[in-house]
Symmetry: C2
Subunit: 220 residues, 2 copies
Amino acid sequence: MLKDKIKVALVDDHVLLRRGLAGVIDSFGQYEVIFEANNGNHFIEQVDKFGEPALVLMDINMPEMDGFATTQWLKEHFPLINVLALSMYDNEASIIKMFKCGAKGYILKDTDPLELKSALDSIYSKGFYYSELVTGRLIHSINRMDEIENQGSKKSFLSDRESEFLRLVCTELTYKEIAEKMCLSPRTIDGYRDTLFEKLQIKTRVGLVMFAIKNGIVNP
Amino acid sequence: MLKDKIKVALVDDHVLLRRGLAGVIDSFGQYEVIFEANNGNHFIEQVDKFGEPALVLMDINMPEMDGFATTQWLKEHFPLINVLALSMYDNEASIIKMFKCGAKGYILKDTDPLELKSALDSIYSKGFYYSELVTGRLIHSINRMDEIENQGSKKSFLSDRESEFLRLVCTELTYKEIAEKMCLSPRTIDGYRDTLFEKLQIKTRVGLVMFAIKNGIVNP
DNA sequence: TAAAAAATAGGTGTTTTCACCTATTTAAAT
DNA sequence: ATTTAAATAGGTGAAAACACCTATTTTTTA
């Protein structure tokens, strides 16, 4: 090695994507993937073993410990490690939440390798990477900053019970059957639904399903 | 090059996964990725330019021309090219349909690189790769082979109109509003819904939404 | 060309979903 | 300790979704 390379870590539950990504990143020359992890918990173990990377490419939807929680954890324990979020979808809520959790950039999985390089370079030299996608979404959200403050700063923003409810909403059960499964009154379920409608600004069960999927609350 | 490598092509709309995959496959030694494509149409163009690969790694959910259609096209025009399906999800219907379209194997995107190599080796030497996943799903389906015959053999199994309907089902529009958008009577929409309920053995709109997502008819 | 299949559209009634109320009990914050 | 907020649960009515019919027109297939 002629000179020290910038250490990168990958966190994603898709092995093939991860390996692939590692190849792409190594091929850039000045970056070096020092380890990979399946999810947040695994990542934390790996940091102990392999030491701190300068940069982490972080998937959002992962089993056990997701990208939000892991990024938040990094912000608290290793604030100098920069996180570049890597997502399947370009939904506004995820972008905002990820930045709130401390990410320094946000790119999609169908990004061109060249843009990936730009992102890495930018984060390493300037400390952030704001793509057109990101700025576009943020500008679109600027009108309702208050809501974002409220939803983005909360750790999970959905209670365990709400997540459980959402998972059941994505099945063919009726609300009455969901109530039985959760050992609650149908009225309470009504309340859960209406609360989520309000929080997420949606009006139908289909809207709930789409939200749950986009945000990885259910795995389709 | 000491000896001729086995030519592989990649078809997937996620550039990073594709590039990564290419790296992994090239690293196996005896395989060589000769080109990549974003979707079926692009793939067909590329075959003209770069010649026939021996093996194609084919994503299922892609824009414009999906994995089913492309595999079917290959079966008709280049029956000697072997297709290994590459999917995000392990849903039974997709596996069966992909094999009906002529795929020789089916692996998930979170497969280990070693298993990918096994799959490639197996398809190249034996002409097929049946993982535990695949055989498991097929055994589970053995009781309703007749249904599979009927749904699997049809070219697309969903008409353009039905796909359009399904996309709208995944929004917060009511069926009446969907009818307006599609310039049809609400009754006709009722018919579309009931036909799909029957075909897919589901009973609710949520079921339709989940089906549409699992099968890439809508991008969440 | 005749028969079969698919796309279109209508009628009617039940169940589910949703909106808009109130109220109690428990947990959190001040 | 007191106020606030959150989880729980109930009532009612309108709209939407679903089930089960029939019937016409167009397209496919035999």
